[in-house]
C-alpha cells in the first residue's frame, strides 16, 4: 500500500528532514512511527499525503508514484487518505455535522448519503448526541474523536494520524488507539505518528523508530524487540 525507496527530503533551507528511508507498509496493516520531536515522523506522514514533496527517491502509495502526481491531481489523490491532527483542526464556526460532513461534500455526495454516513461515523466514535453542537462545546477528547470521525467518514484506504493522543490523558489515549485498531480491523491501512512509545508498545503492532530523519529500528514483532527499542530510545 505504501512504499518508500531511498527517500530523502530536505527543506529549502537545507535542513534534512528525512534521509534514505526504505519502508513498505502492506494493505490493511497498522504501523506506528515513533521518535523524538524533530525526528521526521510528521514529515513522513506529510510526504504520503503530498503536503510536502520528497527531494529524492521514490514513494508509491496505492500504486501511484507520488512524484508523477501533478499539482492539479493532488486533491483527488488526497481523497484516498484520512488525516488526523494533534490539535484537531476542527472548524469552530461549524456544527459537528458540518465538520464531519466536509470530506463527503468535497466528494459531491448527496444530502441523504452525507447525513447517513455522518451519523454512522459519529455513532462509531460514540458522539452522535453531539451532532448539532459546536467544537468549542466539546472536551479535548471529544474534539479529537470528531477529528477521527471526519477522517474516516469518506472511507479512506489509508488513515494517517499525527500525534493523535498528544493532548489526551492516558485513558483517552488508550481509547483512541483502540478506535484506530477497530478501523484497521475493517481493512483500513493505519499509520500513526506518536512519541508515546510506552503506550504504543502495548498495541502489538509494527513500530518504526526514526532518529534525525533516519529509520533506526523497525520490527514486525514489537513484543520480542520491545526491550531493544526501549533501550535505543533511551540512548536517543
Amino acid at each position: 500500500m505504501i512504499q518508500f525507496a531511498n527517500v530523502f527530503m530536505a527543506y529549502p533551507s537545507g535542513n534534512k528532514a528525512l534521509q534514505n528511508i526504505n519502508l513498505n507498509i502492506d494493505k490493511g496493516e497498522m504501523v506506528y512511527v515513533s521518535g523524538r520531536s524533530g525526528a521526521g515522523k510528521s514529515t513522513l506522514l506529510k510526504l504520503i499525503n503530498l503536503i510536502d514533496r520528497h527531494t529524492r527517491g521514490q514513494i508509491i502509495v496505492k500504486g501511484q508514484n507520488l512524484e508523477r502526481i501533478k499539482k492539479n491531481r493532488v486533491s483527488i489523490f488526497r481523497r484516498n487518505i484520512g488525516f488526523i491532527f494533534q490539535n484537531h483542526r476542527l472548524l469552530n464556526d461549524r456544527t459537528i455535522f458540518d465538520n464531519v460532513a466536509l470530506p463527503l461534500i468535497i466528494a459531491g455526495n448527496n444530502h441523504q448519503e452525507v447525513k447517513r454516513r455522518v451519523q454512522a461515523a459519529l455513532d462509531k466514535v460514540d458522539l452522535l448526541s453531539k451532532i448539532n453542537s459546536y467544537p468549542m462545546e466539546l472536551s479535548g477528547g471529544e474534539q479529537q474523536r470528531i477529528g477521527v470521525a471526519r477522517a474516516v467518514v469518506h472511507r479512506p484506504a489509508i488513515l494517517l494520524a499525527d500525534e493523535p493522543t498528544g493532548n489526551l490523558d492516558p485513558t483517552l489515549s488508550w481509547e483512541m488507539m483502540k478506535l484506530f485498531e477497530q478501523f484497521n480491523q475493517v481493512g483500513v491501512t493505519v499509520l500513526i505518528a506518536s512519541h508515546e512509545l510506552d503506550m504504543i508498545e502495548h498495541m502489538k503492532k509494527r513500530i518504526i523508530i526514526l532518529n534525525k530523519g533516519r529509520i533506526t529500528n523497525s520490527t514486525e514483532e514489537p513484543l520480542a524487540n520491545l526491550q531493544k527499542i526501549k533501550i535505543e530510545r533511551e540512548i536517543i
Partner: protein, 308 residues
C-alpha cells in the same frame, strides 16, 4: 459522465447557498459594502438615464432644423421648382419647400410694415428661396455640415443660411456629458472591482484555516473558489438592487418638477426610467463586476494557500 455532472451541480448548489448564507450571517458589514457598490453603480447608470432623457428631449428638436437656400437671382420660378424637386430626391433631405420671390416680397411687406416703400421699387429684389429639412433622426453635426457643404457648391445657389450655433453648443454639451459618463463609468467600475476584490481578499484570509483543511481532505481549487465567486456575484446582484432603487427614487423625486417645467414650455415631456432591458444590463454589469473582482482576488490570494 452523468454522475460527474450531478456531482458538479451539487457542489455548485452547495456553494450557491453556502455563500448566500455567509452573506446573511454577517449582515452589517455586507450591507455596508453592498451600499458602496450600489452607489458606485448608480452614478454611471444615473448619468446614462440622464443622457437618455436628454436625447429623447432633443429628438423633438430635429424637426426645427431648417436650411435656407437663397437661389441666384437669375433663376426663375420654373427653374427653382425643378431645382427644389432635384434636391428633395437626395437621401439626406426629407422635404423642400419653395418660396418664390413674389411670396417672399409679400411676406416681407406684411411683416415689416414697409409696404409703401417697397412699392416704389422697379423690380422685386428678393430671390427665390428653398427651405430644406434634413432627414436626420438625431442631431448630427457631421451629416448636417456635409449636406451644407454639398449645397453651397451648387451653381444655382447664391447663399446658404443655417443658424446652427445653438445646436452646435447642445451637441458639444451632450458629447462632453457622454465623455464624462464614460470616464466616470470606467473609474467606478474599477472602484467596484477593487471593493469586491478587497472584500473577498479579507474573506479568504478569514477562511484560511478552513481552506487549508478543505485542501487536506481533497478539495480542489475549483471547489474552494466557488463560494468566493458566488459571494462576488451576490455583491453584484445586491449592489445592482440598491443602484436600481437609488435611480428609481431619484426619477420619482425629479419627475414632478420636470413635468411642471415642461408644461411651462407647452411640452409633454416625462422622465424615462431604466426600463426592463436597461435594468437587465445593470444587473448583468453588476454581476460581471462582482465576479471579476472576486475572481481576481481568488487567483491572487486563494491559490497561494497550501494545505499544512
Amino acid at each position: 459522465m452523468k454522475q460527474h455532472i450531478q456531482t458538479w451541480l451539487k457542489q455548485h448548489a452547495h456553494a450557491f447557498f453556502f455563500s448566500l448564507g455567509q452573506y446573511i450571517k454577517n449582515p452589517i458589514n455586507n450591507i455596508l459594502t453592498t451600499f458602496v457598490i450600489g452607489i458606485s453603480l448608480a452614478f454611471p447608470v444615473g448619468f446614462y438615464v440622464f443622457l437618455n432623457n436628454v436625447q429623447i428631449l432633443s429628438s423633438g428638436w430635429d424637426d426645427s432644423i431648417e436650411i435656407n437656400l437663397f437661389l441666384d437671382t437669375t433663376i426663375d420660378e420654373e427653374q427653382a421648382n425643378v431645382f427644389a424637386n432635384r434636391i428633395s430626391k437626395r437621401d439626406d433631405v426629407a422635404e423642400t419647400i419653395l418660396i418664390n420671390k413674389d411670396e417672399a416680397l409679400a411676406e416681407y411687406k406684411k411683416l415689416s410694415g414697409l409696404s409703401g416703400a417697397l412699392d416704389v421699387l422697379d423690380e422685386n429684389p428678393f430671390p427665390n428661396v428653398i427651405l430644406v429639412k434634413p432627414v436626420f433622426v438625431d442631431i448630427d453635426e457631421y451629416k448636417t455640415t456635409k449636406l451644407i457643404n454639398e449645397l453651397e457648391v451648387m451653381p444655382e445657389i447664391d447663399d446658404v443660411q443655417y443658424d446652427n450655433t445653438w445646436i452646435k453648443r447642445l451637441i458639444h454639451i451632450i458629447d462632453i456629458v457622454k465623455l464624462v459618463t464614460f470616464i466616470l463609468s470606467v473609474l467606478l467600475a474599477i472602484a467596484v472591482l477593487l471593493i469586491v476584490g478587497n472584500t473577498i481578499r479579507l474573506s479568504i484570509y478569514s477562511y484560511r484555516h478552513e481552506i487549508e483543511i478543505t485542501k487536506l481532505f481533497g478539495g480542489t481549487d475549483s471547489f474552494i473558489q466557488r463560494p468566493f465567486l458566488y459571494s462576488g456575484m451576490w455583491y453584484g446582484i445586491f449592489g445592482s438592487v440598491i443602484a436600481w432603487f437609488l435611480i428609481a427614487g431619484s426619477i420619482q423625486i425629479l419627475s414632478g418638477p420636470i413635468e411642471n417645467l415642461s408644461n411651462l414650455y407647452a411640452g409633454d415631456f416625462q422622465l424615462v426610467g431604466l426600463g426592463v432591458i436597461n435594468t437587465l444590463y445593470l444587473f448583468g454589469i453588476g454581476v460581471l463586476l462582482g465576479l471579476l473582482g472576486s475572481w481576481a482576488s481568488v487567483k491572487r490570494y486563494l491559490y497561494a494557500i497550501e494545505a499544512k
